[in-house]
Symmetry: C2
Subunit: 775 residues, 2 copies
Amino acid sequence: MTQTVDPNTDYRAVGRSTNRLDGLEKVTGRTRYAGDITAYGMLHVRLVLSPYAHARIVSIDTAAAEAIPGVVAVFTAKTLEMAGAGTSSRSQSPLALDEACWCGHPVAVVVAESEAAAEDGAAAVEVDYDPLPVVVDPEAALLPDAPLARSRSEDEVSEIAGGGAHAAVSDEGAEEEEEEEPLSQNVSDKAHIKKGDIEVGLREADVVVERTYRTHPVHQSYLEPQSITVVPGPSGLQVWASAQGLYETRSSIAKAINLPERQIHVESVPIGGAFGGKFGLLEPLAGAVAYKLRRPVRLVYTRQEDLLAGNPAPQAVFKLKLGAKRDGTLVALQAKVIFDAGVFPGAAASFGGMILANTYNCPNVDIRAYEVLTNKVSTGAYRAPNAPQSTFALESTVDALCNELGVDKLEFRRKNALREGDMSGFRQRLPRIGLVECIERIQQHPLWQQREQQKTVVPDELKGWKVGIGVAVGGWPGGTESAAAACRLEKDGTFTVVLGTVDLTGSDTSMALIAAEGLGLSVASVNVAHDGTDTMPYSGGTGGSKTIYSMGPAVLKAAQDARRQVLEIAADMLEAAVDDLEIEDGKVVVRGVPSKNVSLEQIANSSMNFGAPYAPVYGNGRSAIANASPMYTAHLVKVAVDPETGKVRVLDYVAAQDVGYAINPAEVEGQMCGGITQGLGWALFEGMEYDENGQLLTPTLMDYALPHSQDVPNITPLLVEVPSGRGPFGAKGVGEPPVVPVAAAVANAIYDAVGARLEQIPMTPERVFTAMQAE
Amino acid sequence: MTQTVDPNTDYRAVGRSTNRLDGLEKVTGRTRYAGDITAYGMLHVRLVLSPYAHARIVSIDTAAAEAIPGVVAVFTAKTLEMAGAGTSSRSQSPLALDEACWCGHPVAVVVAESEAAAEDGAAAVEVDYDPLPVVVDPEAALLPDAPLARSRSEDEVSEIAGGGAHAAVSDEGAEEEEEEEPLSQNVSDKAHIKKGDIEVGLREADVVVERTYRTHPVHQSYLEPQSITVVPGPSGLQVWASAQGLYETRSSIAKAINLPERQIHVESVPIGGAFGGKFGLLEPLAGAVAYKLRRPVRLVYTRQEDLLAGNPAPQAVFKLKLGAKRDGTLVALQAKVIFDAGVFPGAAASFGGMILANTYNCPNVDIRAYEVLTNKVSTGAYRAPNAPQSTFALESTVDALCNELGVDKLEFRRKNALREGDMSGFRQRLPRIGLVECIERIQQHPLWQQREQQKTVVPDELKGWKVGIGVAVGGWPGGTESAAAACRLEKDGTFTVVLGTVDLTGSDTSMALIAAEGLGLSVASVNVAHDGTDTMPYSGGTGGSKTIYSMGPAVLKAAQDARRQVLEIAADMLEAAVDDLEIEDGKVVVRGVPSKNVSLEQIANSSMNFGAPYAPVYGNGRSAIANASPMYTAHLVKVAVDPETGKVRVLDYVAAQDVGYAINPAEVEGQMCGGITQGLGWALFEGMEYDENGQLLTPTLMDYALPHSQDVPNITPLLVEVPSGRGPFGAKGVGEPPVVPVAAAVANAIYDAVGARLEQIPMTPERVFTAMQAE
């Protein structure tokens, strides 16, 4: 079927399921995170959050707070004097200047000797607010007469495109002049993605389906809250942050306090989940406070602060029209897409629009994407940013279209699926991708093959519930980033890979496997060590499903370089040719002459000692991959719906995903199961709910519903390996795709069960019940 | 005269006197040392030192100490359970087990929440001692019936050679059976260095001079006392130590507590002077305490502890006989050398013996060297270990021999000096050395040329004092160590050199100059960053005058590698050939076409960013130099002696030193002036004095006399540049030689002034006066 990499290659390390290097420390609670760092004289920071979604700040009285024993300082935007105060950068301008713009907007910080004093201090800060009109709904915010979510200078408004004409990007890449639209200045970005002629496409279509979908903001819900500890030293600030990128953290703090980047020393520290939500939030604020006071400070969000003042995934609205011919050929894709950025721009609406055009071939495409500001917390990345929302809309509509056409849902998808050589939604000429292979893998699965019979199998306690099976597909374009790594021989004959990447979801373990393979050793001989920004080999943030793909080649080269150096030393010691040598069981051996050998330990001691005759083994690897390897996945889900309450139970889940090559199969399966579980959160449970005044109704985990273990069904991850030409051993990214099609697959299964089309996630019992009543 | 490197080369960076990178932080007091590291919950360690030079420990009662508020624990060797307890390794067995063997031997440690509580606790530990016979004098300790300085197992005694026959090493390298000598088991090592036939040599000599010399232990007197902070973490211990080598520290702690080396994380931290005295002392002890308690601990010596329980330079005794022909040809060198190791072996007596044969060609050599144990603190390295002592003996005797022969003292030295191709005292066939060049440089100096006239020039306040001029030469064999380094481009277009070496006396600044030269940039574009043991490129301890010599080539290669990478990227960006490019003013420019250029910042941003097309610039350098480059120096000093008191004032000092090539001339001159100042301490002031019970009479800086600023004359450093074939740009080591001949030069000047030959250092007024009376 597919040209997968044969798992029976002669690889020694990669391709074998391997325990995580950090597993023991994490499960035994010994791992220390950014918020566990302590320093002598450390102060604690607590935020004062606005209770209003929009209000002018008349005055802030800090006297009572400052009088509390233990309180060292209270800062407002005016007294903290950050370089970026008042700009439209959330992290550079973390404190409200004159205007609080969401319920949860920090207006002051209290710094105290203890957490308790800081909390008391925060409660004692008196802020006089003058409420302003609030806009919460993104569709309402788009209208020309909508209240403005945030006052802005004229410069900023013209810069962020509100209401003005914007160039559209056509399929040919040419820019065209666009007609003016009457829009609110809340619109902070817009894009028009065009291909072919949408009017022609819609005319050609035998069937056209049009639907509108809505989503809520969804929080990344990492286990570790946003955390940072900053310790001022003689040459700047030392920083431990729960952040996905060390260099990014360095840059953002340096910028905030106008110091050279070299004076910001960001240390590597394990992070407790991120999912895109830790690409910069509190670091400039904490850095500025520590710098101002010249004392160590720690800022760890409470769970409530994380929900009120984090950076969740954006809410979105899709009006989507698909047209197809009777034979199942997709001919028209028209969409209006709104992504709600909250108070600050950055929701990447155009990216969400492109995702709509990144699964199927369609000759006529017309997508208008809008980013709009509202009085809600501003947003950040969350695992495959914008793809779960867009894919919920697209794949629900495809399902409806297939129903209208009466065609097989997987056949329709297979027929229209993007393939190698096609143009992607991101205008990339596609390399070999595995979308068709994933669809075919699902097609062959018994849950699909015997789907009518499978629907009759339900647990006893669900008797009377309606059962349905749904499918959906989705993908992620991937990314690239240049990277470097080092590989060092240790005195005990093992090797250390030196990295600047933050370990997420086992990336270190995969790096160790890659290095072991490059060295020709088992993974037990390889350790991974992290460097901070002062000395680390360059690597970008961990995220975007690009870590193994982009960083892996640098690690592989570093390991191969170290191996070459080892063999050169051994060749000299053994008076043999490098080509006649092999590494076995911690020794370099002359092939065929096992008695002629030298241990790696001996090589280490001959190259790392006073008077050592050989140079130390210190391999170096650098890489820059030109193009991303897009990834796809196909999901199949069986659900049961309680017709009396609308409650949904997911009974079985099968996911086929093209991972290129599974470096650490257990970890890849873990990523798939984790992503699907988060997708079930999007589908059924999670959503930040605001009232019409912009008050967050779900500011705690009592109100914000995360999936519980009993909500997660048996998940069958099927690894499809269509090798990438560039990733190490053919590997592609694996982290983002599994979350992408889950909501759509579940919605389609619900439709299959009860004939009701859900157009809003999360699909709570109330919404499902209402939808059933409407049918 | 000499083939020096022309200072008017086209070098851009090296060869220019450059301010130290760490200067501002150090002079403004902002530098943080190992003892400044703080950690939450940190405990303080204070030692309980034996008041007896030798005593059986009957019992240690810690109850009273433990009852003091704030005292957390009291450990003895038995309760601390270090892996090396009871062995003959001072640092692995830091606490006396059953027997205290010197006045100052730590018998217990008190760990407390505060420094004050630890001190109170230490005072409250009750130790019941049973005094044992004491041996203090090394000559007495050698005798067969001497009391043993330390009880030892039979294994240990046979291992350390006490009294047994030892093989001698002859000139031809062959080992011969030696006759037995009646010696005490205090003798822990001995060596017999032979060449030619000493009896023949002595018979051939027209003049034979025989003298006996004695020295005292001398303390390194670094500004920063021995200090260490250890913080236990989830994966072992994090360590900041005032230590010259990070890897050495890692190994010693790992060994002491039986942990894999990987679990010891030694961080780079500036040190405040070391001079050889910080190659490992407290680290295993502090590591064991922190590991036992699983709490951060800090141990910072008081100055008194440093004097009582440091590791000073060993006391030595020389019986030296030199024979020469009337024409000034040296024909016989016979010596008996005793180095007093204190309680633990490690004084490298044989090395001290070889130093005697490392200045002049002599056909007949017979040197017997003995290392002996006494009830004194054990010794460590101190700037050119053993060479000041041996050179004081050798060069004083040469001076006497010249007087007997009536030959010119510099002519005699020039005539007999070792030259390229000769066999050194360390049996190295000498590469090009600069001993003759240094002698000739001194010969030409006005202070020598017009020495009789110069002797009449004295300050008014010294009227009536006798003035003399003395010369002495000396050297250091040098060392090598394999090394690696990295060089990284920064986003601002500057470069960072990544090192694992500890900066001593400006070595970082020299590394920056070397890297700048390799990059083709000015030193302002280069920063130096230090890595810890987890991730650093391998490098050994800083010391032995091998840092620039051995590490410099790795830095140069790393910089050249980074430059190559920069040019390759620029070539692609500019569509030009690498060979047509040059780096100028932060830009890569096509030669002859200044408008065709790309800035280093642009190159950084094209190679270190999301989607960057080029791999990050990350250069790598490795080196292993096969042979050391021996260094020599010639000193000329003018002194005045008060005939009524014996007080000596040094009036002028000239030193010519072969430095190969001065990477940073100001720093090289600084090294010379610093070494000479320390040498004046050896010559005139410093010496640890013990009474017959082994009580240290100089345990504070009130008693132990360091040279004051007014004791240091004008010093004229003359750089002689006889390039090394291996060091970077021809550089040789520079740190050790300047201390070597000082005591001899001063002694010879005193003889010239008053006709009295001083045979013991320091040459205190009392000793000078006594010697004058004896003439």
